[in-house]
């Protein structure tokens, strides 16, 4: 059953790894059509928060509500897309083969049409027929963007997506994020690139030692 939501809200989020307390009682909310930038020094819990939002990690305590829905489910995962520094693809497959695999896993109705649209949108040319192992950083990021947006997710999580990209690739990334925001997606972005954060952020949440220390509209 397909589900939809306009807001993601976390309350009292705690995550403990052994003796390390990655998150200690985080409260925050993320709305549709809004880009929220999460800032903070290394080890402040940003990626842990993103992994919990993406249903990749269970919180030790606290709740995550996706609209009226709570807990983990396949229907919720179908509404989440993640783009990180690592491309989350198979380097021995070509761009098209990777996209076909993820289209099958998402059980899209017309995968060929969707892949064709993404290939055009992200200008995946003839190089897309080669194994992804041979791609430049910029080409890999285009493929990763296409993978993350394959299923038009309601919640788009971006973890340091601009690391290692040249100026043109960062501009392409910005355009993609803007397009997703205009589509009504809930966009959560982690970045150390303050210029990128300044251009994209509508809300900023600052974490330090697993706690929200500042939250404001940009």
């Amino acid at each position: 059953m397909a589900i939809d939501f306009d807001r993601v809200e976390v309350k009292g989020l705690v995550k403990v790894y052994g003796a390390t307390r990655a998150l200690v009682g985080v409260d925050a909310a993320f709305d549709a059509g809004t880009v929220t930038v999460i800032e903070g020094p290394n080890g402040s819990g940003k990626t842990t928060l993103l992994d919990i939002l993406g249903q990749l990690v269970r919180p030790t305590r606290g709740t995550v509500r996706y609209g009226d829905h709570e807990g983990k489910s396949r229907a919720l995962r179908a509404q989440i897309g993640i783009l990180a520094h690592a491309a989350m693809i198979y380097p021995d497959l070509s761009a098209r083969e990777n996209l076909h695999l993820f289209a099958r896993l998402h059980r899209l109705d017309d995968p060929d049409a969707r892949i064709g649209a993404l290939v055009d949108r992200f200008e995946i040319g003839r190089w897309g027929e080669r194994p992804a192992r041979t791609y430049s950083r910029g080409q890999l990021q285009r493929l990763a963007l296409a993978r993350a947006l394959m299923h038009a997710p309601r919640l788009l999580l971006l973890d340091e997506p601009s690391t290692g990209l040249d100026v043109r690739a960062v501009e392409r990334l910005e355009r993609a994020v803007e397009a997703e925001r205009e589509r009504g997606a809930i966009v959560v972005l982690i970045t150390h690139d303050s210029a990128l954060a300044d251009r994209l952020a509508e809300r900023r949440v600052r974490l330090r030692r697993g706690k929200v220390v500042k939250e404001k509209a940009a």
Binding site: R77, I89, L105
Partner: protein, 226 residues
């Protein structure tokens, strides 16, 4: 059931496509298994009687070492470029990631078994043709449980630093019931016993397979969620 089968099939097809392209697992694990077989045959061959008694151990040691290498390599693919996160995020039952990976690795290890068994037969002067069916049955049953259990621990090792060490240290003790049953059943068959006399060992292998598969399907999601 359909999402499970569709997800399993997609992941199995991906495994096959990558292996057909790279041949990485079959070549590395297969050559390693052959090397172990040849070296042990040179070290232990004394006479035909001794050879018949040693051959089952050589076959299973080679196959299990090659298997652990194959399982490690199969999951290294998921680690590279962090592809496993893409799979975990997909709206499929997470147990079908386990099922697809297990079936793929099982196919690779069975192919390696099919190469190793005749090589052991040649090096130890065994006439495997007469025992082909029972030998194949024992090898398949033994490999299914071994791979089913190994795939679960190899998946866990994706997120640990000493992954290859952990896989070997954890897997071999836990897989020992299946390995022991496989070695003894092979020894009985090569010693001339009819299949009916090895049926108890086959039952142990079957039970081990069932336990390994059920544990893998049930435990994969909670183990991969953190």
């Amino acid at each position: 059931m359909r999402p499970f089968l569709a997800g399993t099939w997609a992941i199995l097809a991906k495994e096959m496509r990558i292996e057909l392209r790279t041949k990485e697992i079959l070549v590395t694990a297969g050559l390693f298994g052959l090397l172990v077989t040849v070296l042990t045959s040179l070290a232990f061959f004394l006479d035909d009687d001794t050879a018949r008694r040693i051959a089952p151990g050589v076959l299973w040691v080679s196959a299990s070492f090659a298997g652990v290498l194959a399982m490690g390599r199969a999951w290294a693919r998921e680690r590279e470029a962090d592809a496993i996160r893409g799979l975990l995020l997909a709206p499929i039952p997470r147990s079908c990631i386990y099922a697809g990976k297990t079936l793929g690795t099982l196919a690779f290890v069975l192919i390696i078994d099919a190469v190793l068994a005749p090589v052991v037969g040649i090096l130890f002067r065994l006439n495997l043709a007469t025992d082909l069916a029972p030998m194949a049955l024992i090898l398949v049953l033994g490999t299914v449980g071994y791979v089913a259990m190994g795939t679960l621990f190899a998946a866990m090792s994706v997120r640990t630093s000493a992954r290859d060490l952990m896989l070997s240290v954890v897997l071999f003790p836990l897989a020992s019931p299946g390995l022991v049953a496989g070695v003894v059943a092979t020894r009985e068959v090569l010693g001339g016993a009819p299949l009916s006399e090895t049926v108890e060992w086959l039952r142990i292998l079957g039970a081990f397979d069932l336990i390994a598969i059920v544990c893998g399907l049930v435990l994969f999601e909670p183990l991969m969620s953190d």
